[in-house]
Amino acid sequence: MSETIEEKIKSYRTAPFDARFPNTNQTRNCFQNYLDYHRCNKALSATDQDVAPCDWYQRVYKSLCPMSWVSKWDEAIESGSFPGKI
């Protein structure tokens, strides 16, 4: 399976199965993808690469996370009080 990231993002339907979080409680899946999106942005923009591949993580967390959590975390990031390691 060597689809490129653009093809995968274009044909995205929903968050795929993640072996790290196989049970009903997907809270950590949501948080992990949120963290991965921001870490990916930070890492790729630090080396001046295109941040488009990070959109995969954004699609996944937007599928999984409740909107209230996402807005709360976004505000926390802007105010500098986000508890996760980015």
């Binding site: 399976m1 990231i5 995968k8 795929p16 199965f17 993640d18 072996a19 790290r20 979080f21 196989p22 049970n23 950590r28 992990q32 991965d36 870490r39 990916c40 930070k42 890492a43 790729l44 591949p53 990070c54 995969w56 993580y57 996944v60 390691k85």
Partner: protein, 84 residues
Amino acid sequence: MSMFAVVRKQLKSHPALIPLFVFIGGGATMSMMYLARLGLRNPDVCWDRKNNPEPWNKMAPTDQYKFYTVNMDYSKLKKQGPDF
């Protein structure tokens, strides 16, 4: 350590108590071993935040975490390229 001497004396006069100790001791050992296994081998547990921060990220996409899966084909692919 005089407690053990007392117990040994009691066991000599009531040898039927020995299976009690065996089974209770075995049960306690198994419980402690299960807790130790959960603490040390579970990928959700993080002991060392500096050197091993997120151990669940070390699982390959084909690792089965659950004990029994009904119809799950675990030969999947990794999502998204490694970038950091």
